[in-house]
């Protein structure tokens, strides 16, 4: 196989295209609800393998060639964490699911009273720590590209050029599959699937190179062990401090790296997957590191003096003339780098948009003015963050160049994110941790890390040699490499020891000395006791919110459909019909949790807090819970459950009773109304016909009277027709004609008949949505649409009346919403508009008394019931709105 520059580019592009296809297909399957196997323990374990980046793929060999066994610490730490999943990981995953956690910043902020500053602090640490790591991946891709193309036909690749285009390509992929929607569960099937595929590719590639080295070049297992024994690199170099320190550091980073937290906790949807991953993930990293030493030893043996050991994985197959294997190795490294960058970018973008952009954006708005496009703003912020994070990585890559060994950049990142560990573990296992303590620990730890490790990594331009030697302003004890006079230590170990020691000390001391806010204590109890069934207390003790305002808010964050579903389900749970439940504390909590899944806990709490008057939880509420013994709690919980049940029944009964009373009143009104409606034309007919019977009328007059008589008779007929129609529909003796047609045509016809154009009503439609082929009784359907449209024309009281017709499909149902921009229908009257002769009174009297008997909506309801569908009032749309839902194809049984 002859390699050229162009084949290399073509293979890379082909590989990327394959990833796109995999992600796209997985996304589609998941959305069609057929994604069961996408969520198997195997896929979960493989997705965890983004821990193994290009640093593992190339850098481990270089690391082993320099420091022997020490490279294993990076994989032993996470293996111990996964083997010990019963300690920490299991609890994190359970909390993540119970609290709808979206990122590690969200978890820490949520634990410490949904604190905005803490979320922002964790986000900043993560961005500072992970940016170099992303730069590292770009560096490895461009370096290997350059190494590969050296001496190939078609010239040497431009390193910068490759890095730039890689960054752009990754940004496009991430935006396409990572930020397409604002999924409340923050899960990305397409990306997880793509990452799993990449995990297989990189493992296969590294094993292939390893097998080639051991059996092709090294003379089998015995031969290679012999070579290792004689190798110039001592495997155990006696540096026990680094052995222990790095194992601990990698274990800490495994839990706190945003991308690891994302796949480990956020994308997890079953505890049982953890049981599999507890042994399968250590096995995976074991296999990844199995051949590292053989490759390093054979590489040192066979490759020319002075070759970069970071590239042995690629250089060995090339120098031995195995182009295909080299290409496979290149793809393995490429996939290690890309999958890491994609997931890390998504995790960081979620954190930046939820914990920096959203709080800033909310604080610039007045409480009552959460603008309409919250959802769009957050998605936009997320996309911009993806671009921003990748640009930062690229800039870092440009500044530091390619001088630093791969492993040292990775360890700097590890030490940075490890600063989150004290707050994370302290928050999950210790109820005494407070927000002030966590903030102090995070701030001090991050500062020490930046001073002793991060800033010096930029070279002498940032921290001059004199400061390194003598400390800033001659302050000897502040030397970055020898803080408080602790000189002579390995710089990395020195930084890790001081930063984590001071971090944990500050966290503990400040927590002991400060008093937490009620919300912090509540969250603390919920996090620490996540495995106990009874969860004490609620975040909202009062409920002063207007439920319709809450609905409007929820629609802006979750989208109209999801919000209506959520509210409808809650209303059902409370024993109410429709979409508006009572804003009980329990419901507020549930709603806040749903919102938190999209925008993070801190922003969700702020949003709900803006609408709920009065404070959230108070110390008294907590005391009330704490004062009861566990037994009383349990007993009262049972009682509460029972009384809630009774409450629901009572409410349903009360509602039914109210409706009955109202109906009875309406029945009387109906009788008097129908007599009135019939008598008026009857009187006219009688008097005019008696006039006609008199002599001496001019033909002109007679003609006019006759026309009046006819018009009145027609009005009566229409009324009787309607009544007849209604009673036939109610008896169920109606025969439906099943016809095929387009929904758009039915709406066209209805709007024409309703005469909306004459009434000056502007109709907003989306022809794309309406191109739905339906098969049902089209005439009856049109009748319903005519009614709704003419109602809007008659009753909409806006200055510039508008009617918005929107169509969407869900399952086999077609849903048509008619919403006008008038002042809507007041809550008490929404109950009765679908009853016969329910014409609304009061507010609308400014308008001319409409003609019609008030049978329209009653007929609509019966028609829709016959068509197997429904019609309902839709609250929270800014005017009167009705939702018509019916099956796309009428069931044969209904004909």
């Amino acid at each position: 196989m002859i390699l050229t520059f162009n084949t290399l580019v073509a293979v890379s592009l082909g590989y990327v295209a394959m990833l796109f296809a995999v992600a796209f297909a997985a996304d589609r399957r998941a959305r069609a609800g057929r994604g069961g196997w996408l969520r198997s323990p195997l896929i979960y374990t493989l997705s965890l393998s983004i821990y193994c980046t290009a640093w593992t793929f190339y850098g481990a060999v270089g690391y082993a060639a320099r420091s022997g066994l020490e490279y294993l610490t990076i994989y032993l730490g996470p293996s111990l964490v996964m083997v010990g999943w019963w300690w920490v990981v299991r609890k994190l995953v359970r909390i993540g699911r119970a609290q709808r956690i979206t990122s590690i910043a969200d978890l820490v902020s949520s634990r410490f009273g949904k604190s905005v500053p803490i979320g922002a602090l964790v986000t900043l640490i993560a961005v500072a720590g992970v940016t170099p790591y992303i730069a590292l991946q770009l560096q490895s891709i461009s370096l290997t590209f350059a190494a590969f193309t050296e001496g190939l036909e078609g010239g040497r690749a431009d390193v910068d050029f490759v890095a730039l285009w890689t960054a752009i390509g990754l940004a496009v992929f991430t935006i396409l599959f990572g930020t397409r929607n604002l999924d409340p569960s923050e899960r990305h099937h397409g990306i997880v699937m793509a990452v799993a595929v990449e995990a297989v590719v990189k493992l296969f590639a590294l094993l292939a190179v390893g097998v080639f080295v051991v059996w092709g070049l090294g003379g089998g297992v015995g031969g290679i062990l012999d070579r290792i024994d004689r190798a110039p690199i001592p495997m155990w170099q006696g540096n026990g401090g680094r052995w222990v320190g790095l194992t601990f550091l990698s274990a800490a980073a495994f839990l706190t790296l945003p991308r690891m937290f994302h796949v480990l906790v956020v994308e997890n949807d079953d505890d049982r997957h953890l049981a599999v991953a507890s042994w399968a993930f250590p096995l995976y990293v074991l296999l990844m590191s199995l051949f590292v030493v053989p490759i390093a030893v054979v590489g040192l043996d066979r490759l020319p003096e002075g070759s970069n050991p970071d590239l042995f994985v690629l250089a060995l197959p090339i120098s031995e003339g195995h182009g295909g294997l080299a290409l496979l190795a290149f793809l393995g490294g490429f996939s290690s780098a890309t999958s890491m960058v994609i997931v890390a970018t998504i995790a960081l973008a979620t954190m930046v948009s939820n914990h920096i952009v959203a709080p800033l954006w909310l604080s610039t708005r007045r409480p009552d003015q959460v603008s309409r496009d919250l959802r769009g703003t957050i998605l936009l912020a997320r996309r911009a963050s993806v671009g921003g994070v990748l640009s930062l990585g690229y800039v870092y890559f440009q500044i530091t160049g390619s001088g630093v060994a791969l492993s040292s950049i990775g360890l700097i990142a590890f030490a940075g994110v490890a600063q989150i560990l004290p707050a994370l573990l302290g928050g999950v296992f210790w109820r005494g941790g407070t927000a002030k303590g966590a903030g102090a620990g995070l701030a001090i730890g991050a500062t020490v890390w930046a001073w002793t490790l991060f800033l010096p990594s930029f070279g002498l331009a940032v921290i001059p040699a004199t400061v390194l030697e003598n400390g800033p302003y001659g302050l000897d004890w502040l030397r970055p490499r020898a803080l408080f006079g602790l000189a002579g230590l390995d710089p990395l170990l020195h930084a890790v020891i001081w930063s984590l020691l001071l971090n944990a000390t500050a966290f503990t001391l400040v927590s002991l000395l400060t008093f937490p806010k009620p919300l912090e204590r509540l969250q603390g109890a919920q996090f620490v006791n996540v495995f106990e069934r009874a969860q004490p207390g609620r975040a909202w003790s009062r409920s002063g919110a207007e439920v319709e305002d809450l609905l409007v808010l929820a629609q802006r964050v979750l989208g109209t459909e999801a919000a209506l579903d959520l509210f409808g389900a809650e209303a059902g749970r409370q024993g109410k019909s429709g979409h508006l439940p009572d804003p009980t504390p329990a419901f507020l909590q549930r709603l806040e949790r749903e919102l938190a899944g999209s925008v993070g806990a801190a922003a969700a709490h702020a949003l709900v807090g803006q609408l709920v008057q009065g404070p959230g939880v108070s110390v008294e509420d907590l005391m009330a819970v704490a004062g009861e013994t566990a037994q009383i709690l349990e007993y009262s919980a049972r009682l509460e459950q029972k009384s809630a049940e009774q409450e629901r029944t009572a409410r349903a009964l009360r509602e039914a009773n109210d409706k009955l009373t109202q109906l009875a009143r309406q029945k009387d009104a109906f009788l008097s109304r129908i007599s009135h409606e019939l008598r008026t034309p009857m009187t006219a007919i009688r008097s005019f016909s008696s006039l006609l019977a008199e002599d001496g009328l001019s033909p002109l007059e007679a003609q006019r009277f006759a026309r009046i008589v006819e018009a009145e008779a027609q009005r009566m007929t229409r009324l009787l027709d309607d009544l007849l129609d209604l009673s036939v529909l109610r008896d169920g003796q109606v025969s439906l004609k099943r016809q095929h047609g387009l929904l758009a045509d039915v709406i066209d016809r209805a709007l024409l008949s309703a005469g909306v154009a004459r009434a000056g009503l502007r109709v907003l439609r989306d022809p794309g949505q309406e191109a739905v082929a339906i098969s049902t009784d089209l005439d009856r359907l049109a009748q319903v649409f005519i009614n709704l449209a003419s109602n809007a024309a008659k009753y909409c009281d806006a200055d510039r009346p508008e009617l918005r017709i929107s169509v969407h499909r869900r399952g086999g149902q077609v849903i048509v919403d008619f919403a006008d921009n008038g002042s809507g229908i007041p809550v008490p009257e929404r109950e009765v508009i679908f009853e016969s002769f329910a014409r609304l009174s009061g507010r609308r009297s400014g308008r001319p008394e409409p003609s019609g008997a008030g049978l329209g909506l009653a007929i609509c309801r019966e028609v829709m019931a016959r068509l197997g569908g429904s019609i309902a009032y839709l609250p929270g749309q800014g005017g009167a709105a009705f939702r018509v839902a019916f099956p796309q194809g009428l069931a044969a049984a209904a004909e």
Binding site: L69, D229, M235
Partner: protein
């Protein structure tokens, strides 16, 4: 005030066995840590009485493989148990 105990002090055999399995799951990483601290006792490779390169490598990978096998076994046993008990806590 004293908290009333919510769970019985002694359990039937099935529950007892599951508790001990969880103990084992918690202890496995501790055993791993202890075994991985053994290298601290070694003399550096290449020195007289130093540990051999291949031996050091084989030891660490051996411990690692044993941890994988132990975790595999425990995960299997714990999952069997969870199915019998219908899991722990609300889903």
């Amino acid at each position: 005030m004293a908290r009333a105990p919510r769970r019985p002090v002694f359990l039937p055999p099935a529950g007892y066995r599951q508790r001990r399995l969880r103990d084992a799951a918690r202890l496995l990483p501790v055993a791993g840590i202890v075994l991985l601290l053994i290298p601290l006792l070694w003399k550096p490779s290449g020195t007289p009485q130093g540990v051999g390169n291949a031996a050091a490598l084989l030891y660490v990978f051996g411990v690692w493989a044993a941890l994988v096998a132990g975790a595999r076994l425990l995960a299997w046993l714990l999952r069997l148990d969870a199915e019998e008990e219908g899991g722990e806590g609300p889903p």
